[in-house]
Amino acid sequence: MTQINPPIAMLAELTHRCPLSCPYCSNPLELTRQERELDTATWVDVFRQAGDLGVLQLHLSGGEPASRRDLTELVAGAREAGLYTNLITSGIGLTERRLRELDAAGLDHVQLSLQGTDPAMADEIGGYRGGFARKMQVAEWIGEIGFPLTLNAVLHRRNLHQLPRAIEMAEEMGARRIEVATVQFHGWALENRDALMPTREQAREATRLVAEARARLKGRLVIDYVPADYHEDLPKRCMGGWGSSGLNVIPDGQVLPCHAAQSIPHLSFDNVSERPLREIWYEGAAFNAYRGTDWMQEPCKSCERREIDFGGCRCQAMAILGDPDATDPVCVKSPHHGVLQASADAHATRDDAALVYRSMPQKTNA
């Protein structure tokens, strides 16, 4: 039996609506429509349940969470539940007045995404003209109000050369942290591997730049780094281990062990409208599916790293190999590692590939 600890962090995807249409969006291909989103009272009740369950950190995300008109009430409810409340936003939809309301409601921290370091790049990647200028204005207000700020630079083949400038921008904005996040290929990003896959040289250069900047900026700017994992030899410790520390509630109230878990066809997910969050965490079938190490195949089962990386990412094993129980093919011990690396190199040569932007489904009369 695997010992089950209480969760530390909860990602609340308040809505899938978003003014941007980034081609690497981590939302699923099948986006949830507005009419199926949980209402204010239900979200606030979920936050209360999360606090009772042991969650300390709440990440309000989306889509774009500012697309929810009740965002301020939700932040107030989260703080009431004793949660450290973090807003993950592109900045679009936030006015100075709204930010001041969020401040009054007790918002603890803002994580601002960066699609590029200049308007041409950022607006092309976000698919939203004028977005970069709006974001810079929002960053200024964030600084004036004094919110602690993390800049989240999402990087891929088209913009990895902008990494040094992204780090400078974080310093100029007074951010305490920057997340240097190379695109992970789930959701919409999986459709865009040709357009976005970094080259091996780019991945290596990013690692070098991050190490150099960490040394230079020690004590001033903290750098969290997510490397280009197709070019790595060891898989990521996805979610810190499945069902071990985090959970994700999506707009319609389904509770997932990670944001891409719906890509694994045999899993079924409980909904907060039907079952208490505590029961979902401790007893839910999806959470227990890959907890611990009992589910593992070889080479994971006998590997000395099995409780370090837990076999890597289940959704990646599913996406690449069609088998969610397999060793993440990023791992050098996976028999498919060589094929994955060769495919990554091939994707990285397709400079003519067009971006596939995320899009909402058309309304149907189902």
Partner: protein, 91 residues
């Protein structure tokens, strides 16, 4: 950390009693650090007014421990927090 340095928890970093795990934690942007009794005792004295020297003196008296030992332990702990931007220090 020098005796005259004044440590302060910046906005967005706060002490929190975790009622589920029955322990004190330090909450910071996207992080939660579990504090042991010593860490909690030190941070409870950090108020943005008192200097590092005053804090270690108070702790030495309160816990009847040698001030040098307290200063050494606290300096390591607080410096690590400063490196992670969980603590501001003004001279």
């Amino acid at each position: 950390m020098k005796p005259a340095d004044i440590p302060a928890l910046p906005r967005g970093v706060r002490l929190h009693f975790d009622r589920v795990r029955e322990t004190w934690v330090l909450l910071a942007p996207e992080r939660a650090l579990t504090l042991d009794a010593v860490g909690h005792a030190i941070l409870s004295e950090v108020d943005g007014q008192r200097s590092f020297g005053e804090i270690t003196q108070m702790l030495a008296e309160k816990y009847e421990a040698p001030p040098e030992q307290i200063a050494q332990d606290s300096a390591g702990f607080l410096s690590a927090l400063r490196d992670r931007r969980f603590l501001d220090v003004t001279a």
